[in-house]
Amino acid sequence: MYVAVKGGEAAIDAAHAWLADARRGDAAVPELTTAQIEQQMTLAVDRVMAEGSCYDRGLAALALKQARGDGIEAAFLLRAYRTTLTRFGHAAPLDTAAMGITRRISATYKELPGGQVLGPTFDYTHRLLDFALAAEGVTRDAVPERAADEAAIPRVSELLAREGLMQREEAAEAEPSDLTREPLAFPADRSARLQNLARGDEGFLLGLGYSTQRGYGNAHPFVGEIRQGGVMVEFTPPELGFAIEIGEIDVTECQMVNQFHGSLTEPPQFTRGYGLVFGSGERKAMAMALVDRALRAAELGEDITAPAQDAEFVLYHSDNVEATGFVEHLKLPHYVDFQSELENIRAMRRNAV
């Protein structure tokens, strides 16, 4: 129970003035521009867009600057901003098979159509601090280029599906759930789960995904494919009545391949866990794919024994904006609640004596 408390306005004003000053830091150091954040803190921007569930690099950069680099606070700001905008409608599902690839790897096939394309990855770096970056004016080396054909690269899952060894996804054209319009309800269908995971906290999903690998849930995943790059956004304005391209966005997709022992109606085959995230969120896409597969336990008739397989546990706790709201509300005045608890404890102690 919260009691309206008056007073504190001057203290709050002073706190916010100090916050603005602390955000700016040492005046002798040039102020950071949102363009610098957008261009040079790209993965932080991507994460804020993913967890803020709103693709807009400039807004995400602004949110990061305002939040002093706090990703969850920035995602919160972006979520709050989006509520001020009207929705024009929904786009056609992104065609990730037609992606303009910047990175594409598979851990299941060494040589495959399209090849292993590393892209701008941290993988194979030595994770040694590069003190050259601490100096300004580092020269930019030319980026190597090689002749390329720009034909679309087939998905790895399709190679297995053609052999009948990969479970086909149901291509239902039903209207998907939308958590921004309808609250989560259980049992949650796959569309609600994927939307929830796509905007879920990377750290939470990473921990859950990791738990499935360590034995909490019977997962034996392989990275069938990770692909990153640009996809076209197609939208059909009602006044036109036909689809137009309204932009190109960067996304990361992960297809986790998992063994499935089969059931009375289905033969043994591979099944998919799926991850799709705004920007270059490879770790998040992988974690999402692991958790998506774990949450399919019920539909695949597998035993539900682990936290990552428990849809209510996962989906109710994955959203960092909700989680931070409820955890941080503990800071609000609970003076009256606490008084009653205090009375209670005192009475119990009196009675014990």
Binding site: A50, Y55, L85, T86, R87, F88, G89, H90, A91, A92, P93, L94, T96, A97, I101, R103, K110, E111, G115, Q116, V117, L118, G119, V143, P144, E145, R146, A147, A148, D149, S157, E158, E169, E170, A171, A172, A174, P176, S177, T180, R190, S191, L194, Q195, A198, G230, M232, V233, F235, E239, I244, E245, I246, G247, V251, E253, Q255, Y274, L276, F278
Partner: protein
């Protein structure tokens, strides 16, 4: 329209800078809102809502009475208005060829160059496995 949506507003403005475009009136916008983006489970299954994207739309009418619409990703009102104007002019036989040559073809060439550069850089990071006798 895709090219106008993917180009930067500044780039479109620079291409039309020297052209005496007909006057137009705004019918709607430019206004910024959201479009919900979707993915498909497994990449090819049932659709799900991935997250929203800021989008700016504009509808204009030229002095000749031609109506143009535009929806462009982002929050650039000027880009949306120019795209709507160009949409109208491209439907106008008197303007179509000139606008294709002055705006659409340069934007197309710039985008193709951007995509080709991305593809060439990606190709340079494609792994060439050396032939090994046993590699299973």
């Amino acid at each position: 329209m895709g090219l106008l949506a993917r180009a930067k507003g500044d780039a479109i403005a620079a291409l039309v800078a020297g052209i005496d475009l007909p006057t137009h009136t705004r019918i709607r916008g430019p206004e910024t809102g959201l479009v919900m983006l979707r993915g498909r489970a497994g990449g090819d299954g049932a659709a799900f809502n991935l997250g929203e994207m800021t989008t700016t739309r504009c509808t204009i009418r030229t002095s000749a009475g031609q109506v143009g619409h535009a929806y462009v990703a982002g929050r650039d009102g000027r880009q949306a208005e120019l795209a709507a104007l160009l949409d109208a002019l491209l439907q106008d036989a008197d303007w179509h060829d000139a606008m294709m040559a002055a705006v659409i073809e340069p934007l197309n060439a710039a985008e193709r160059a951007r995509h080709a550069l991305r593809a060439r850089r990606a190709a340079a990071t494609r792994v060439d496995f050396l032939a090994m006798a046993t590699m299973r």
